[in-house]
Every structure is written in structure tokens, then in C-alpha cells.
């Protein structure tokens, strides 16, 4: 569907904590679980928050560690220390 942004992560222990954080922060997100990876689609805008990942993972998390679990993403990235935002610039 056009207008969706998406992020795909590995189904590892770390990945799951990130997925859990993303789905609790983005109500509109659809989570599709595939073998070994999970693809999250969300209309227009999706936010990945460091703080919620830390709560789910139980340790301090540097948002750049996201890359280690990341398989693929679609959308324009706007990133700072606390948030990683995917959106379409229109």
C-alpha cells in the first residue's frame, strides 16, 4: 500500500524487544511475523523510541544498535539520540 512506511527486523531476543517497543508506540502499526523476521507497516509515520526499547530490553540502548537487528526499511529517516522516525516527505 502506498503511503505506508515499514521496518523489518530479525526475530532475535533483541529484535523482539525492539518490535515490542515499536508496536506499543505506534498504534496504527501492523505487525507481520515471518520466519526469522518481522515486518512492521504503518501508515505515513512510524517512530522508534529509545526509551521504550530500553524498558523492553532491560538495558541501556544506543539507537544506532538498531542497525544490528535491522533487515530492511522503507521511508525517509529522521534520526536523533532518542527517536528514529520513518516518514514520507511530501
Amino acid at each position: 500500500m502506498a503511503g505506508n512506511v515499514s521496518i523489518t527486523l530479525q526475530n532475535t531476543d533483541e529484535g523482539r524487544a525492539i518490535i515490542e517497543a515499536i508496536s506499543s508506540d505506534n498504534e496504527a502499526a501492523t505487525v507481520n511475523v515471518y520466519p526469522s523476521m518481522t515486518k512492521i507497516d504503518c501508515p505515513n509515520r512510524l517512530v522508534v523510541r529509545r526509551e521504550s526499547i530500553e524498558i523492553n530490553m532491560g538495558r541501556a540502548f544506543d539507537l544506532q544498535e538498531l542497525q544490528l537487528s535491522l533487515v530492511s526499511l522503507a521511508g525517509n529517516v529522521d534520526e536523533d539520540d532518542d527517536e528514529f522516525v520513518l516518514a514520507w516527505n511530501r
Binding site: 515499514s6 531476543d13 523482539r16 524487544a17 520466519p35 523476521m37 538495558r59 530492511s72 522503507a74
Partner: protein, 336 residues
Amino acid sequence: MTVDIKTTSVQPRRNTFAHIARRLGSDKPASRYEEATYDMQPSANFHYRPTWAPEFEIFDRSRTKVVMDDWDALKDPRQYYYGAYTIARARMMESTEKNFAFVDKRQAFNKIDADWRALLELYIVPLRHFEWGANMNNCNITDLGYGAAITQATMYATMDRLGNAQVLSRIGLLLDNQSGESLTRAKAVWMEHLAWQPIRQMVENSLVLDDWFEQFIAQNFVFDVLMYSLVFGAFDEEGQNRGAAAVSLLTEFLTDWHDETTRWVDFVITRVAKESPANASKIRDWIVEWKAVALTALEPLACEILGEGSVAALEIAEQKLDARMAKFGISERESV
């Protein structure tokens, strides 16, 4: 442009154990920590009461005065199960080993002022006996506590305290050229030196507490916050001025450990206090009681090491304790 990844997939019948799925309300993959923690506590079909305490079941919720509807709510925010815990500590120890090697190789201890060196041996090596008391207290909490969420974490705390004692002992060995004499002296100081006796008494009194959650509050909150603020805050700062910067490098492990453990202790106490006003007031009473004991007990040692500076150091320690207490949603004043 969107790239859609398409795959065919076989859905697993279930993603976690049934009792975990029932608890979390859905069958999503649970973390290792959740699987190793939830509902691990045996709760039924106890045939015999323990002969050493027949008024209780073997596992009994009423061994503490605080009441929880669900003891599994006291999760460890660090999510330590065996694997995660050992990996985290191994990492911390690795950097500590490097620091020890560094200090040893550069002979950094030679820079310490002679008079401070004597004081250093007076406060830092006997502290290993305090750590041992903390180990025993957490052992007892693990024994009597209810629910794997809390007892799992207190078990790791027992290991942590032995590790802390070990780091302190190794500082002693650096001070006495690996002869072990400083450890013997430290034992004598712990048993006989006047400045340490109130602390030893406090620790020994905490060892025989009946209520395991009171023990948790006394040791893991009150004693630790005050003692660590004093030793690794005020004493350490004074040491920096007297050429003992190398000691800070070696005790970095304990400071890091304390910061990390704070998250867990704060979470547990906050959660129990939130459960009911009765719990909150029990916790407040315990904190007030043990704070008074601990502040009096620490005073002679603080005076011995810092002299006039001890008043300010104890005040800072107390402020730290009060600030954390405020985070639990309880304050000292309401207890009147």
C-alpha cells in the same frame, strides 16, 4: 518506493509455554527472562511444614509483612536470567582486570600519600566484611522470599557481593605486595577497631531479621546507599586529593555495579509501595528506622577518615537516600 519482502511461511503452533501465554494474554514469543521467571514459584501441594518454622508453609507469602497480590510483579528491570547476568558481569570484570593490570604495571599505588595509605587500608579492605554481610542478607532473602522474580535477582545479588568483596580484597593485596597481611589486618580492624564496631553491629543485627522484605530494604537500600555514597563518593574524592586516583580506577566496578543495581532496587520498592498504602507505610517505617541506625553507625568511620568533612559527607549521603525515597512515592514526614 516501497520494497515488499514476500516469503512463504510456516506458522509455529505455539510461541512460548502455555503458562507464560496465559499470563501475558497472548501467544507471542516471550523473552528468555520472562520464560525463566514467571510462575516459577511452587505455590501448592506442600505436604509438610518445615520443622524449623512450623508456623509457615515451605514457601509462604506471609513471611513478610508486605502483601502483594502477585509477587511476580517484582520484575528485574535489567531482565537478568543466568545468561544475561553472567555476560554482563563478565564484561564488567574484564575491564576491571585491565584496570588492575594497569595499576600494577605503573605501580600507581606508590603515588598515594603515606598517611592516606594508612586510612585507605582502614576503610577499604575491611569493607569486604560489609560486603560479606550483604551476601548473607541476600542469601536469606533468596531463601525466604516469595516468587522467582525477586529471589532470582537477590541470588544474583549474593554473587555480586562476593565479587565486590573480591575486588576489595585484591586492592588489599596490591597494598601489601600480595602477602595477604592486609586481609588479616582488615579482619582485626573489622572485629576490634572502634570506628567499625557500630557498622559491624548494624550488619549483624540485619542478619537476624525475621522479615525478609525488611532485610531487603535495610541492606539493599539503606545500608548500600549510605555506605556507597560515603566510601565511593566522599572518601574517594578525598583520596583523589591525596594521590589515590588509582583506587578510584579499581573501585569503578563497585560504583558501576551500584548504579546498575539501583535501577532494580528502586523498581522493586516502588512497585511494592504502589500496591497498597499499608505496604507504603511499612516500607516508610523500615526506611526511617534503619536510616537512623545506619547514620549513627557510619558516623565514627566517617569522622576517622574525613575528620571535620564527615558532617557534610553524611549529609550528602542522607540526601541521596531521601531523594530516592521520594521516588518511591513515600516521604518521611507522613509517618508521624
